[in-house]
């Protein structure tokens, strides 16, 4: 049934509210250790943990909803994709200037010390910038 209609219901849920909900044709995200995965309607049931990433939701009207997801989970069925994340930001909510500053700060810190925390900061900043389209190719 879902395969016939060619769309699936996508929901991005944060603890505070439902961030996004709509019909889509494809969702691309990135799992822990697994790399990027794309989900199309009719995908087998799937449960995954996500890393900091730039998630793309291809909506039925042809536009793309970009968002930065910082850790979380994805639950997929044939007709739905649900992303659970305690910190996810939609493209339009991202503060590019702040993310850029955070990226630079993390990069300078990386030169002096190498901690997992700084790495995570950098990955978060990357995900934000990538989702907001503000990531220059020179990174």
């Amino acid at each position: 049934m879902a395969e016939a209609s060619g769309t699936m219901r996508v929901e991005v849920v944060s603890p505070e509210r439902i961030l996004f909900s709509g019909e889509a044709k494809q969702v691309i995200t990135r799992t822990l250790e697994g790399g990027e995965v794309a989900f199309l309607p009719g995908h087998a049931a799937f449960l995954g943990a996500l890393t900091e990433n730039h998630t793309r939701i291809y909506l039925v009207d042809g536009s793309i909803q970009n968002l930065a997801v910082h850790l979380g989970f994805v639950e997929v069925g044939a007709d739905h994709v649900t992303i659970l994340s305690d910190s996810a930001e939609l493209e339009q909510d991202i503060d590019v200037a702040r993310a850029k500053a955070a990226k630079e700060r993390a990069e300078t810190q990386m030169r002096t010390e190498h901690s997992t925390e700084v790495e995570a900061d950098l990955r978060r900043a990357h995900a934000r910038l990538s989702a907001a389209g503000g990531l220059n190719s020179s990174h």
């Binding site: 944060s14 697994g34 007709d79 305690d86």
Partner: protein, 297 residues
């Protein structure tokens, strides 16, 4: 003198009127915040329902067996109580209800030889338990009327830390559940180890009936998921407590306003009588004086 009494009464009425204005304002503020707090409670429901479902599916897939957060301990020597109260008073029995329930539990524990440690959330709990000399761990204050997820995360991380380090063997959450605007109840819920009943009931399959694919392994997902689940539980409790706090405050302030009205009514009555008395006395004095003068002639 009668005139003096009248002045004193007038002063008291003015003071009660001023208090009434304040309690009325607090009542209206609380009433408007209940609605917002209620919306936040229901906005948090989808996340916590989904995360519970995922925990179920994972443990049904056999991932839950060795997770430290799921396994209970055979011997419970020390129980941690996370007590959710308000930062401020003037909310009727809200704070005392939660604190009394906690004290009762601690007494029960003491009888069966269990030690306790309290993690107070809200200034009222902190002051109360510190004054009475209970064992205290870190306290969290300054946000109870509008809690954020970041705070829930902090509390969640702190108590799971206490549990995994072996400091405590059980963590209980004591808070006021918001049933409806007219009904709230103090409840105590186990937080860590997670209720095994929660983990039961999943079938490891989606509604469509397919087995789940996991990436990475179910164990790894569960490991990152359980702390989030604890945080979501703490967050839901914080939101419930905040909504209840506003509801309690609204009721308490409504009672205070009504009482002030009653007081003003009674005081005005006494004042009017005093005023009338003094006028009567004055007339009597004038009449008496006039008569004395007439008889003198």
């Amino acid at each position: 003198m009668a005139g003096g009494q009248e002045r004193i009464l007038r002063g008291r009425i003015r003071s009660v009127q001023a208090t009434k204005k304040i309690t009325r304002a607090m009542e209206l503020i609380a009433a408007s915040r209940i609605v917002k707090a209620q919306q936040r409670v229901s906005a948090a429901v989808p996340y916590s329902e989904l995360i519970t479902e995922v925990v179920r599916d994972l443990s049904a897939a056999g991932a839950g067996s060795e997770s430290p957060l799921l396994a209970g301990r055979d011997q419970v020597k020390k129980v941690c109580y996370v007590v959710l109260t308000a930062d401020r008073g003037l909310c009727g029995g809200y704070n005392s209800g939660v604190m009394r329930a906690t004290e009762g539990e601690i007494k029960q524990d003491a009888l069966s030889g269990r030690d306790h440690v309290i993690v107070p959330v809200g200034r009222k709990a902190e002051g109360y338990f510190r004054f009475r000399g209970y064992n205290m761990a870190q306290s969290f204050t300054g946000f109870t009327d509008s809690p954020t997820y970041a705070i829930a995360k902090e509390i969640g991380e702190y108590v799971t830390g206490l549990f995994t380090s072996g400091e405590v063997d059980r963590v209980e959450l004591v808070y006021t559940r918001f049933v409806s605007a007219g009904n709230q109840e103090v409840v105590q819920r186990p937080l860590v180890p997670l209720d095994t009943k929660v983990a039961e009931g999943g079938d490891g399959k989606s509604e469509a009936g397919h087995d789940y694919e996991f990436e990475p392994t179910p164990e790894l997902i569960l490991e990152t998921l359980l702390p989030r689940y604890v945080e979501a539980r703490v967050y839901a409790a914080l939101l419930n407590a905040a909504a209840s706090e506003h509801a309690f405050r609204q009721r308490a302030m409504k009672a205070a306003t009504d009482n002030a009205e009653e007081l003003i009514k009674n005081l005005s009555r006494i004042m009017n009588r005093a005023r009338q008395d003094s006028i009567t006395t004055e007339i009597m004095e004038i009449v008496g004086g006039a008569e004395a003068m007439a008889s003198g002639n």
